[in-house]
Amino acid sequence: MTLNDNVVLKLENINAGYGKFHVLFDMNLEVPKGKITVLVGPNGAGKTTTLNTIFGLATIHSGKVYYRNKDITKVPAHQRAKMGMAYTLQLFNIFSSLTVKENLVLATYDIPESEAKKRMEEVFQLFPRLKERLFQKAGTLSGGERQMLAISISLVRKPELMLLDEPTAGLAPKLAKEVFQAIRQLGDQGYTIILAEQNAKGALETGDEAVLIASGRIVAKGKASELLERKDLAKMYLGLI
């Protein structure tokens, strides 16, 4: 099996869940290179589980996961990180007892120090606020700053595939917009991103491709802008109208 060079990741007939618990059904998905793919859907639809499946944190009952032409279905999670995947978790996505700096140092523990420093500077260009709070305990950051740090932890690893789970959850609209803008910027820089979001409108406006998940199944796929126009979906699943 070889992937088209433009496809970074592919899910093939995935049935997955947690232990015996079945969450995802017959999922097929291709993630194009250098694009932002958005996963939207109601609460409990299986967005996080899809990301967990991609990163090897869920139980795969059947089906296969391909990443850069390799079958990684059985590869353990920590090795996927070494293969260039990064994952910003939905909850507990920072080391809250450590300072901002220590968080970033930790995230680059397997990268040479000089290179790590360079990358941190790049991250600070995207999120200047973090630089001001370098020595603050991460647990005391505001919600927005927290999410920025969480994204930065993935970003300093220069991932080839970046999974973001609800980076705007609980943020005020203005802050959420800032975060979406930052993500769009990353997309424009050529990062391949999968973005799972509750905030369907913001996410669809940010992303290139979109996938709508409901009850563990993909119910619609297409360009993000097109999905945004689909009144039927908007009403049924996204609560946009």
Binding site: A77, N93, I94, L106, Y109
Partner: protein, 354 residues
Amino acid sequence: MGFAAFMAPLYYASILSLLSVGITLSYMTTKVFNFAHVRYATVAAYFAAATMLTLIVHHHITLNAATRTIGGIQYIMPLPGWIYVVGFVVASIVGGLVSIFLYYAILKPLERKGLPPLALMISTLGFDFLLVAFLFIFMSEKPIINLAAKASSIIGTVNFASLGLDFTDAYIRIGNTMVRGSVLGALVLAVVTTIVLTFLTRKTKLGIMMRSSIENPNLALVLGVNVDRVFAIAWFLAGLIAGMAGFLLLFGTSFLKFISPTSPYNSIVVSVFAGSIVGGIFNVEGSIGGGFLIGLIEKWFVPWLAAVLSMPSLIKYNKVFSMFAVALTLLFIPEGLASIRFSKFRKKKGGGEA
């Protein structure tokens, strides 16, 4: 109180601290109180004793009780130095291996099944019983007692086969006292362990990975840390250190009594837990200090108090003092008392991000 009177308390306190730190290491990583931990020391002591005795028999080693001098320091080393070294290495490795076996063969599979920490703690109890069964079978006559008898007949002392069966200790002169090698060894080992572990957890890459895995295992995992392996290393270290303590215990008490699973010496388990809790179950250095403190309370403070109050029977009640130390720590001292933070953390997990 003379210098010599401190020897036994220091020895005991050092050994407790070596065992307490293992409880903390394994608790910090997997959130499991390991009931089998102290038994590692016993099993390791068993293997070390069996190896040393076999070597004595095999090489027809005789005791050398003469006082010798090296670099102006007087010492007595009854057995050749390499025998002690072999025993020490065997004990450490056996301790480490038993620990890692428990981690990979029992805890990990059960954890994957979704068993809660309390159930995992009970499974360490089940494993402890298996170790006890092992000791019951192999510490009886042929495997070790006969071996000890043979060894002692070659060595030409009554040391092994009769009365105490304690191993022949070395001595070093410090000032005008001949200090037992095991006492000095225990003290040095406790200090070295503290330094090495502090360095390891604070300054090395492994330490960084360990601390991040402890604080947030999922996040560490997605950053590419092999959390299982990091924890396994912590468990191995815990077992290794317990094995060293087991080796030292060969010299302190009658070792056959010590390795007997039914012996009252096993109430050391409670003192070890006490050390770990009083010192801080989330703090490696703290637990070493805690073990030391409990050891000194039991073997130095209580006897001193008994003498001061002229109530000699008080000495027998020394474990009651440890009990109070544990109760007071758990109930009233917020610092180092990680239980409250821990339960809050768990609540938070259940109730979503606060």
